[in-house]
């Protein structure tokens, strides 16, 4: 087995790092895949910026409540123990360090943990930021789920972001289709790599300088736990 992981496999890898009992906010889009991969042996409370704790899975077709949606505006459900609250309280939780883990997508991540995930240089569409900045500055642990490079092969892990920042110095760990990397005081530290990839290959697809842990593990295709 070798080569880049499918995004669902990366989500599965992230799921392994979500602790039992954690309060978790998953960013819009691909990060929501993580919830599908967290094993049933763990009880995780999902937070949504629009005032929900204890979000459950998508409702059965025909059971949707148009008011009960997640941050991505998709219908969700509420688990027993869940609660509703208003937006200002939802962001108090996010900004105030009450969310244990957030998983966010990224256009770029810098070696100092800067995150760029809300805007590119595209001026033809209006800018939109949503709750990304609040989550990025506030969550206790910020995990990034992204491809290692853009579709056209441009590196996303950089010495400095070139796109507008979401927040500076906030990313703790990056999970790509090729590797798991911690953001440390001395830059990116590779913890895991997919099988069949050399360190030189990985560095070649990364604009930032990489360091490698003593015990780099094989990044296994994710599985439902």
């Amino acid at each position: 087995m070798s080569g880049p992981l499918a995004v669902r496999d990366v989500a599965g890898r992230i799921a392994r790092d979500i602790p039992d009992g954690a309060y978790v906010n998953l960013g819009i889009g691909l990060p929501t895949l993580v919830a599908d991969c967290v094993g049933e042996d763990k009880e995780v409370v999902y937070h949504s910026e629009n005032g929900i704790l204890g979000m459950g899975p998508a409702p059965a077709p025909g059971e949707e409540d148009p008011e009960l949606i997640n941050a991505g505006k998709q219908p969700v459900t509420l688990l027993p123990g869940g609660a509703f609250f208003h937006h200002t309280d939802a962001f108090l939780m996010m900004r105030g360090g009450h969310v244990d883990v957030t998983v966010l997508g990224a256009f770029q991540v810098s070696e100092t943990g800067d995150l760029a995930n809300w805007a590119t240089d595209d001026a033809t569409h209006p800018p939109a930021v949503g709750g990304a900045m609040d989550l990025a500055v506030g969550a206790k642990r910020v995990l990034v789920l992204t491809t290692h490079t853009t579709r056209s092969g441009e590196p996303k892990l950089l010495p400095r972001c070139t796109y507008p920042l979401t927040a500076a110095g906030v990313v703790d760990r990056v999970y790509t289709d090729l590797a798991v990397l911690d953001v440390t005081d001395s830059g990116f530290l590779v913890r895991e790599m997919v099988a069949g990839l050399t360190r030189e290959d990985l560095q070649g697809r990364t604009a930032a300088q990489l360091a490698f842990a003593d015990d780099v593990a094989v990044l296994e295709p994710g599985q439902r736990e």
Partner: protein
């Protein structure tokens, strides 16, 4: 005798003036006071500053205000969605001003207005483009941006039930910006699905106490 119930949508939005800053509740399509916004449209009110999380979608509510050129400025966090065609068209043509605010800051700025505060420092947005031109202060080793209160002349809110004092409860995630906006405006107008008798709402579970509410109108549900 306090009775904040009004008999029609037209009465509910009566007196809202051109040039007003209007806080419009809702997140995506959840909790949007659609009928109140349409009543404002029907009334002809224009030159509005609209504060709302998204910038409307399709042809209803805020999108309709934009289509009909009633909006001078939008203050929001996420004006881009699949159906935000009218916002994009007006924005591209330079016909509507956009003040983009991080979502938590948007909500917190309205709360600061509601609470009579003069502003606050937040780490959100520091080191970003959205802090440009704003005061930055290092507090406890971390960069913070100064944000000003954001009051409304009017708030349009959707709730589930109200009594004649204007006490409100909401339904699931439709609560979203409602309680904060209701508290942050000089005139708060609420559309509800149902009126209940005074005393029927559990005093432990009232989400928006009537002190924040000026008018409530019942809108028939499908």
């Amino acid at each position: 005798m306090i009775d904040k119930r009004v008999g029609s949508l037209a009465d509910a939005v009566a007196g809202i003036e051109d040039g007003a800053t209007v806080l419009v509740g809702g997140f995506g399509a959840s909790g949007v006071p659609v009928e109140l916004v349409h009543a404002l449209l029907d009334q002809g009110t224009t030159d509005l500053t609209v504060v709302t999380n998204n910038a409307g979608s399709g042809e209803t509510d805020v999108a309709a205000l934009l289509r009909e050129r009633r909006v001078r400025k939008i203050v929001c966090s996420y004006p881009r969605s699949a159906g935000s065609v009218w916002f994009e068209e007006r924005w591209r043509a330079g016909e509507v001003e956009l003040e983009l605010v991080p979502q938590g800051t948007l909500s917190e700025r309205m709360r600061a207005a509601a609470a009579g505060l003069g502003g606050f420092f937040t780490p959100t947005g520091a080191d970003t483009r959205l802090a440009e031109g704003k005061e930055v202060r290092v507090i406890d080793g971390r960069r913070h941006v100064f944000e000003e209160p954001l009051p409304g002349d009017v708030a349009l809110v959707r709730a589930a039930r109200a009594d004649r004092w204007g006490n409100l409860v909401y339904r699931t995630a439709a609560r979203n910006f409602g309680p904060t906006m209701a508290a942050a405006a000089a005139l708060t107008v609420v559309q509800v699905d149902e009126f209940v008798e005074l005393g029927e709402l559990d005093p432990e579970a009232i989400v928006t106490p009537g002190i924040f509410v000026d008018r409530v109108v019942r809108v028939g549900t499908a």
